[in-house]
């Protein structure tokens, strides 16, 4: 049993879900949250005006500023920037985790900074609450 945590762009969630469904992975938990990467959420450093994906990326920030991204005007000397992201939480037992990670990455790869990360974690145990099944049987 493996858990796959994928932090991806919010605009790519639908495509990713379709790609996962074609692999036979239909059970996914989605969180909407904020993230920042090696650039510290400072998107201005990595904007390439020739790339459409970045233009959309920038306008999205200005449309939905998070409270901490506006902190520059207040007491803080340095603003803290956050970028809206989606976190997909997938637990698999039969489908190999590497295959799921590959599928997520091939859909989300645009070549620009901010494409996200995929993490694979071990899962100790699982339980299907409805039936009380444990382990692999709870996931399938």
């Amino acid at each position: 049993m493996k858990e796959i945590m994928a932090v991806i762009r919010q605009s790519k969630v639908k495509e990713t879900m379709e790609a996962l469904a074609s692999l036979g992975v239909t059970s996914v938990t989605i969180h909407s949250l904020n993230g920042r990467g090696r650039q510290g959420g400072n998107i201005m450093e990595c904007v390439d005006p020739l790339m459409d994906v970045n233009v959309e990326y920038v306008s999205k920030i200005y449309k939905f500023p998070t409270p901490s991204s506006m902190a520059g005007a207040s007491t803080l000397t340095k603003p803290v920037f956050w970028v809206p992201k989606s976190l997909l939480d997938i637990v698999v037992s039969e489908v190999p985790a590497e295959k799921v990670a590959e599928a997520i990455m091939s859909v989300n790869r645009s070549g620009a900074k901010g494409d996200g990360k995929v993490f694979v974690l071990p899962i100790a145990d699982a339980m299907r609450i409805r039936t009380g099944e444990r382990g692999d049987a709870a996931i399938v």
């Binding site: 991806i8 901490s68 803080l76 990670a101 989300n108 995929v118």
Partner: protein, 104 residues
């Protein structure tokens, strides 16, 4: 590699994030969550607050950086009162950058 899940006070979020950035860990994910601890929330007079707002920070880091990150988070989110939060560490088997497809 390890994943660090830190549940901290929302008002300490900016302090912790800036301190982590200063220590060389700018990359993280945050979620606004609700939780309660051993005290089952908060009792103020006749009013009981069951779930209190917290900020959850997720960082995936190398094994040798875990202790340093834990001390940075603890130093900057500590007030000494109940509700300061918890830090959880678990294993990560693989980590990929989507843009390049390579492991970290």
């Amino acid at each position: 590699m390890k994943i660090v899940r830190a549940i901290i006070r929302p008002e300490k979020e900016d302090d912790v994030v800036l301190a982590l950035e200063g220590a060389g860990f700018p990359a993280m994910t945050k979620a606004h969550v609700f939780g309660r601890g051993k005290q089952k929330g908060l009792q103020v007079g006749p009013i009981h607050y069951d779930l209190l707002p917290k900020v959850l920070l997720l960082l995936v880091v190398n094994d040798e950086d875990v202790e340093r990150i834990m001390s940075v988070i603890a130093d900057n989110s500590k007030t000494g009162f109940i509700g300061d939060g918890k830090i959880f560490i678990s294993d990560v088997e693989r980590a990929y950058t989507v843009r390049t497809g390579e492991g970290l």
